[in-house]
Subunit: 197 residues, 2 copies
C-alpha cells in the first residue's frame, strides 16, 4: 500500500507488535481506518496515556500509577508473604483465585544467559531490600516451570535470609486434568509431590 | 488488572481489534508498556495520523491523502479498464503482479442481506458515474468467490452499459496447486473454464 504513506506507516508500526505479521498488520490497519473514528482515537489515546501514567511500583515492580501500586499500599494485605512472579499479568492469575492475601514481587524478566539476560536485568535489588527489613516471613517462588524459571528460582534462593521460609508452587496434575493426556514430567512431579490422602 | 485504570483501558481498547481476544490484548498491552517508549508512541501517532490524513479517493474509493489517490491521478495508467475489488488491500494483490496497468474501483463492502448490508452501503454511485462518462471500455469484476461476492458481481452487472465489456477473474487451480489437495469446487471450475492447450 505504498500509495498512502500514512497507511504504510500504520501497517509498519502495527507489524512491530508481537505475533503480528505483515498480513495481520494490514488487516488491523484496514479495521482502524474503517471503524468509528472515536474507537481508533481511543486506542491511540490509551497507548499514550498508559505510557504517561504507568510506571513500576517502587516496592514490587507491578504496574502502578503512583509511587506504590494499590496492592502494596493496601494495609489489609499480609505484607509478610511475598509471591515472586515474572510479569505483572501473572498477578491476575493469583488475584482471580480470590484467596491469596499476601503481596507480590515482579521480576520483569527471567534469567537467560543465552539471551544475554543476567541478574542485573531483573528487579532483584528491590527484592533484596524488602528482605532486609525482616518483616517478610515467607517468600513463594512462582516463576514458570521452564529452564529459565528454574534458574531464576535457584538464583533467588541464594539471598533469601535463612529465617525466612521459602516455598515454590506445587507441581502436579491440573484440576480436571486426566492422567492419560498428561505429559510424563507432569505425572512424575505429581507422583514425587504426593500428599497424604 | 483492575489496579491500574490506564492499563485496564489499554487492554479493553486493544481487545476491540478484530481477532484479538482478552488474553492477546493483555499480551499486547504488556508489550506496549515494556517496549521502547518511542515505539509505543509511534504506533499511537500513526493511528491518529492515518485517521487525520486518509480519506476515500473521490473517484475509486481507494485510500487517498488528497482528493484522488495516486493511481487515479496517474496519466500513465489505462483509465479505460476498471477492476472492481472489495477493499483497498485487494489492490495490493494486483499491483504486486506488476502487470496490471488499468485502474480500480473499491466497493468498501459486499452485498449481504443477512447482515443488513444493501446496495446503499457499497461505493456504487461513484462507479455508475464513472460508467456514464463512456470512457470505460472494460470492467473486471474481482469480488471474492463467495455468496456475497457473487451476489455483488451479479448486482453490478445490471448497470454496466452494454457497450462496455464485462469480465470476471478466472477460477481454477492456483499456480503450484495439486489436484489431489484441491477442493472439488475449484477442480470443477478449472474443468469448466478449460482453455485450448
Amino acid at each position: 500500500m505504498d500509495w498512502s504513506p500514512a497507511v504504510e506507516t500504520l501497517v509498519r508500526e502495527l507489524s512491530r507488535l508481537p505475533g503480528v505479521g505483515r498480513r495481520s498488520a494490514s488487516r488491523l490497519a484496514h479495521h482502524l481506518l474503517r471503524c468509528p473514528e472515536e474507537q481508533a482515537r481511543a486506542l491511540a489515546l490509551s497507548i499514550q496515556e498508559s505510557r504517561d501514567k504507568v510506571r513500576p511500583c517502587q516496592c514490587c515492580g507491578n504496574y502502578a500509577e503512583a509511587e506504590l501500586c494499590p496492592l502494596c499500599r493496601d494495609p489489609r494485605r499480609d505484607h509478610g508473604i511475598v509471591l515472586v512472579v515474572e510479569k505483572p499479568s501473572d498477578i491476575s492469575a493469583f488475584e482471580s483465585t480470590g484467596r491469596y492475601r499476601g503481596v507480590y514481587h515482579v521480576l520483569g524478566a527471567l534469567l537467560s544467559p543465552l539471551d544475554g539476560i543476567g541478574p542485573d536485568r531483573l528487579n532483584l535489588a528491590a527484592l533484596r531490600s524488602r528482605m532486609e527489613g525482616g518483616a517478610v516471613r515467607e517468600v513463594v517462588l512462582a516463576t514458570p516451570a521452564s529452564t529459565e524459571g528454574d534458574a531464576t528460582a535457584l538464583y533467588i534462593q541464594r539471598f533469601i535470609p535463612s529465617g525466612t521460609s521459602l516455598t515454590r508452587l506445587a507441581r502436579g496434575l491440573p484440576v480436571g486434568g486426566e492422567l492419560e493426556y498428561s505429559d510424563s514430567l507432569t505425572v512424575l512431579r505429581a507422583y514425587e509431590g504426593r500428599i497424604p490422602a
